[in-house]
């Protein structure tokens, strides 16, 4: 098992390096001038100096190598220092945003909790709704519940978040006035009232994101349950007189959870991606909105770092999914 995990982890390192190279080349080879905003009165030789100060004078491979060092060596040191009060990272150059002139990672750390709250909560809510729907519609295959479930899933697949978002705002915030339409990020949860406010402002974004999750996960759950319900071991379990509950909830459910758990892990990064749009609609200042802001402002270091963080998330959760599959299903482990 350790061997399997090690091998799988080692494979993901070249993947990450390659993705970072793609992102780096895409951003650096594109016809795009970071000096475009500088006034025309600034003489060309001064512009050249500014360009060099941004590290743009050197050959591409040196720029790439330096960026890798910054991202994988200096930033972890900063994090370590922050945690344990050491001083490894003193006087070392960090990835600096062109927009705010402050380290990109600090801004990401500030914005991460909002994204995690909304995305994480919506994912949990989505899974909690999806699993029972999937299980029951597989158990009552072709029943009215199953048909309705299929229809709702189709709708969840087809209605994009940039329509459900404004739609729930119109219904619940404008017409009914029950819930706030924007997310107040300066709110600190100190007592019961602020906690309720926090919950209320989370309802709409969580609802929009959870609809997507529910649609996908319940489909997988249903398909996986259907596969298992027709297996021989189910007939055996029934034949030896086990109660229906034991057959479905213990025997079938445990076996059909194997692919579903990996799908849950695999889909998590996609939810982060989808959160970009949802954050924009509900004005949550998480990392998705930071990415959009950086794109509008032509702030390449921030864009590069954030895009790469999304890639790291995807590779990491792919790894988790593979390992989980190995742990849950012993047949997979030794290929």
């Amino acid at each position: 098992m350790l061997n399997f995990v090690m091998r799988r982890t080692l494979i993901s390192i070249p993947t990450l390096l390659f993705i970072s190279l793609i992102i780096f080349l895409l951003l650096n080879l594109a016809p795009n001038d970071p000096m475009a905003q500088v006034p025309l009165t600034v003489p060309p030789e001064v512009k050249e100096k500014m360009r060099e100060a941004l590290g743009l004078g050197q050959p591409l491979y040196i720029q790439f190598f330096k960026w890798l060092v910054q991202f994988f060596w200096i930033e972890p040191q900063v994090f370590f220092d922050h945690m344990f009060g050491t001083s490894f990272s003193e006087d070392k150059l960090r990835v600096i945003s062109w927009q705010t002139r402050s380290p990109v990672m600090d801004m990401i750390i500030q914005r991460m909790p909002q994204t995690l709250w909304v995305v994480g909560m919506s994912y949990i809510v989505g899974i909690l709704i999806a699993l029972p729907i999937g299980i029951y519609s597989a158990y009552r295959h072709y029943s009215v519940f199953d048909q309705a479930g299929t229809f709702v899933t189709m709708i969840g697949y087809s209605i994009p978040p940039f329509f459900t978002g404004p739609l729930v705002i119109v219904i619940f915030a404008v017409q009914l006035g029950w819930l706030p339409s924007t997310y107040d990020t300066v709110l600190r949860v100190v007592d019961w009232d602020t906690f309720v406010t926090q919950l209320r402002q989370m309802v709409l974004p969580v609802m929009v994101l959870a609809l997507q999750t529910t649609a996908q996960i319940s489909r997988y759950m249903r398909a996986s349950m259907l596969d298992n319900l027709s297996q021989d071991y189910v007939r055996t379990a029934r034949a030896k007189g086990l109660s229906e509950w034991t057959v479905v909830a213990i025997h079938v459910l445990r076996n059909s959870m194997i692919p579903v758990v990996t799908v849950i892990a695999l889909n998590l990064p996609a939810i982060f991606g989808g959160a970009i749009i949802t954050e924009q609609i509900f004005k949550v200042n998480g990392i998705g909105q930071q990415l959009i802001g950086a794109i509008y402002a032509n702030d390449l270091p921030t864009v590069q770092t954030l895009t790469f963080m999304f890639a790291v998330l995807i590779v990491f959760f792919n790894l988790i999914a593979d390992i989980l599959y190995g742990v849950l299903d012993p047949r997979i482990r030794y290929e």
Binding site: A30, N32, M154, I155, I159, F162, G273, I276, I295, V303
Partner: protein, 300 residues
Amino acid sequence: MNDVVIDRSQSGKWLDVWTQFKKHKGALVGSMVFILITLTVIAGPFFWIFEANEINIRQRNEGPSWLHPLGTDQLGRDTFARMIAGGQTSITVGLAAMALSILLGSCIGVIAGYYRRLDGMLMRLTDLFLSLPLLPLLLVMMLLFREPLSEAYGPERGMFVLIVCAIGITSWMPTARIVRGDVLALKEREFILAARSIGTTDTKIILRHILPNVISPILVSATLGIANAIITESALSFLGLGFPPDFPTWGRLLNDAVEYLTLYPERVFWPGLAISLTVLSVNYVGDGIRDALDPRIRGR
């Protein structure tokens, strides 16, 4: 009884597929809705009295009336005319991006499945593309290539080329995987061996014997690809990184409507409904085609 069997063998596979497809109510309704939307969008400009960009500032922000069945926007432009124009762009982008993605996906899938030497490399490439953060990368591509392409082809056509290419390049991976799997299985069959033993070249084997047999997964990916491309294009336009502001697409109209959400909440409804209905109908068609082409389900 005997006649019926002969009749079926003559009519061929596609009639069977059509018979099965007709049984899937959702797919039938879905295809009708999609055809209806497409026809409205194509024929609309010939019958509708207003132009999409015709500004009439005196009639701005009107509600639904007989003259403007969907009302007008903040510049007095007729919403229905803009919906038609937006639909033309959105559906064209969807079809073109789907075509590119299917072309890339089936080429890579067939090559990876057929030539063992290239298989490992191409599948690693597919895995790499699957690990890319697609929406952020699409946004970055929009940011970086918008201006050079606009200068080269004009703002609208440049954007069209960019969006179609960007969506096509980032969505071929599932098709490639499915096609490769099917080709791998087909390659070992006797009819391929027979074709090779009479000296058929690789190109001919692929074109005559392999491609017709992998057409069903390609068709299913194609329908799902349209839905995906329409949603992606609308998402980009919604984030303000798609077509230029005066060029209506459904995503762009939705984005414009969100700004007036508190004053005129009903404006959000139409573009959103159009996107959702198109995607929903295409998804149902895909579902129906999948069932109809699956020989285990067909004929039951």
